[in-house]
């Protein structure tokens, strides 16, 4: 068990290094280099080739690519991500201020998606083909197809403009978080409720469910006691995938509701061609994706004795 964990962790580290190397090489290949950009900001459009060369030399831009990548990764590991070309502040400082915002968004949204998908999925399976099941199916289909910026707009129209209950943007207290959370949770909740529903139905036709019925349990108690624990693995796997996809949701939601999180920083970096900010945000995203997947794998191993045994064997 322990050796499997170590192996997984090393694999995750390798994936982080490989993926960040790929993005580093891509950004380094971008037309219009960092030195020229800095020189232009410092001296206006009249920056001459001499100045650009000097700045480039200082930044070590003319060294071979692998050396530059190693240097960048080493300083990133010590927490020095460089200075944002857009804001002129250290990227690490920006992240320190912005990560809590995005974490709150993802955490709240993830929790809502978790609770909502289980409730809807179980309710759908319990009603099994009757009206409630079909309504939930329709809801999950529409929820998985509506673009999240449109969801945000509709929620603003209903709850802020028409009813006037909730603020349109900003972060003043709990109320201002409700619309962003609802927006970001709708898509994963829809997809996940479908996963719960389909897998519950499948589990109900398995021998252990029949055994449960033979023991005289009611349908709902077979559903909750026998079938529900058995959908843990597909549910957790999909939840992990959806949770990583919520990063895209956070980019859109932070833009719409004017939240100053990492996603908004990323979009600004792209718009202003802030290569340093882009590079750092991509590294952060990669770490988030790989670590979420690793965590899901570990939880699955802990939850399911079959996987635990198969992998340690």
């Amino acid at each position: 068990m322990k050796s499997v964990l170590i192996k997984r962790f090393l694999l995750a580290c390798f994936l982080i290094v490989a993926a960040s190397a790929l993005t580093f090489a891509l950004v380094a290949a971008a037309p219009g280099n960092v030195a020229a950009l800095i020189a232009e900001r410092a001296a206006g459009p009249g920056a001459d080739a001499e100045m650009i060369r000097k700045i480039g030399d200082e930044l070590g831009l003319y060294d071979p690519l692998p050396l530059r990548y190693a240097r960048w990764l080493a300083s990133a590991a010590t927490g020095d991500l460089g200075v944002s070309l857009r804001t002129g502040k250290p990227v690490a400082e920006e992240f320190a201020a912005r990560i809590p915002m995005t974490a709150a968004l993802l955490g709240g949204g993830g929790l809502i998606a978790f609770l909502l998908s289980l409730t809807l999925g179980i309710a759908g399976a319990a009603s099994n083909g009757r009206l409630a099941d079909r309504v939930i199916h329709g809801f999950s289909l529409v929820g998985a197809s509506t673009p999240n910026f449109f969801v945000a707009a509709l929620l603003v129209i209903v709850f802020s403009v028409t009813l006037g209950w909730l603020p349109t943007f900003g972060t003043s207290g709990f109320q201002s978080w409700l619309l962003p959370w609802a927006t970001i949770a709708l898509f994963p909740a829809s997809v996940l409720s479908r996963v719960v529903r389909v897998n519950l139905q499948e589990a109900m036709s398995r021998p252990f469910a029949t055994t449960g019925f033979a023991k005289g349990y009611t349908r709902s108690s077979v559903l909750l006691r026998e079938a529900l624990p058995n959908i843990a693995i597909p549910y957790l796997t999909t939840f992990g995938a959806q949770f990583t996809l919520m990063i895209i949701g956070s980019i859109v939601v932070e833009t719409v509701f004017a939240l100053r999180g990492v996603g908004a920083f990323f979009i600004d970096a792209i718009r202003f061609r802030d290569f340093v900010g882009m590079q750092s945000t991509l590294l952060l995203f990669i770490i988030f994706f790989v670590m979420t997947n690793l965590l899901v794998d570990i939880i699955c191993m802990l939850v399911d004795p079959r996987i635990r045994r198969a992998r340690s064997a």
Partner: protein, 302 residues
């Protein structure tokens, strides 16, 4: 007669129809539009729906109905270009990896896996940051973000198909690698990948709209749903119509593509290819069924 009915039920026609409508509107957009979607008219800004302007006009006096119809065309064309390009790249790289095998396969698979470690849209965003904003850089970025999935699928099919005895037979008979691949393996690859792509089209329409919404895709004068929506956001309090109409159009298209994908997943239509093959398979199935029934009758009467 029953077999005819069954044939119709075999294909998700009902589900297909909204997709067909979207494609038709996209193709015939120039004839459906009543106005030039980019034409501004300061005498008729922010008008409500009327006979002249079915969906009203926006803050520059542009006809919203024409802009939505024009938007269908933009989405359709961009989606088709990306899908075809991503398919071509993915199938080529994936099939090559699967067919050649060995170290080449290992390297290509690692590249594919690394590309799949990040969500496609994040890759597309990063590429737009590098390439700059604009229509063609959006198309390039989406293509480069979308090919990896198809590559992985193609490789899996090629690897599985290579195990089949008929490949060995073809080789014994002296068929060249190119012949074996094009004649025997490629149809299997395309069959699976095209089904997946038809369901994936909805995600792509969504991605195009999202990028334009973020101001990184289709630029303002061109009508595009995501960009119309972000344009309308400033008027959301007085004229929610400007936001709701393009949003509805977008949602309808994505819902219909997702329904199509679900229908495929449920029916497990394996290779929707040429009609001939489909008919042949159905005939075989019907004959099998008849033979089974005949055997049952025989057993019952005996």
């Amino acid at each position: 007669m029953t077999s005819k009915l069954k044939q119709i039920k075999d294909w998700p026609w009902l589900v297909l129809s909204p997709v067909v409508i979207f494609v038709l509107i996209g193709i015939f957009a120039p004839w459906i539009m009543q106005y030039n979607p980019a034409a501004q008219n300061y005498d008729a800004t922010l008008q409500g729906p009327s006979w002249q302007h079915w969906f009203g006009t926006d803050y520059l006096g542009r006809d919203i109905f024409s802009r939505i119809v024009g938007g269908a065309r933009i989405s359709l064309v961009a989606m088709a270009i990306v899908l075809v390009a991503a398919l071509a790249i993915g199938v080529t790289i994936g099939s090559f990896a699967g067919y050649v095998g060995g170290r080449v396969e290992l390297v290509l698979i690692s590249v594919i896996d690394i590309a799949l470690a990040l969500p496609s849209l994040v890759i597309a965003l990063a590429l737009i940051g590098i390439l700059g904003t604009g229509y063609w850089s959006m198309i390039t970025a989406l293509t480069l973000a979308w090919w990896a999935n198809y590559a992985r699928m193609s490789r899996a099919v090629v690897t599985a198909e290579l195990q089949q005895p008929y490949i060995e037979a073809a080789r014994v008979m002296g068929a060249s690698h190119i012949w074996i691949f094009v004649r025997h393996i490629l149809p299997h690859v395309l069959g699976l990948v095209v089904v997946y792509a038809s369901a994936d089209a909805g995600a792509l329409v969504l991605a195009i709209a999202t990028l334009s919404f973020l101001g990184l895709g289709v630029a303002p004068p061109t009508p595009e749903w995501g960009q119309m929506l972000v344009d309308g956001m400033s008027y959301i309090e007085e004229y929610p119509r400007l936001v709701i109409l393009p949003g509805m159009a977008l949602t309808l298209v994505v819902v219909s593509f997702n329904l199509l994908g679900e229908a495929f997943a449920l029916q497990k239509v394996p290779r929707p290819v040429r009609g001939g093959l489909l008919r042949k398979r159905r005939r075989a199935r019907a004959e099998e069924e008849q033979a089974r029934q005949a055997a049952e009758r025989k057993a019952a009467s005996a």
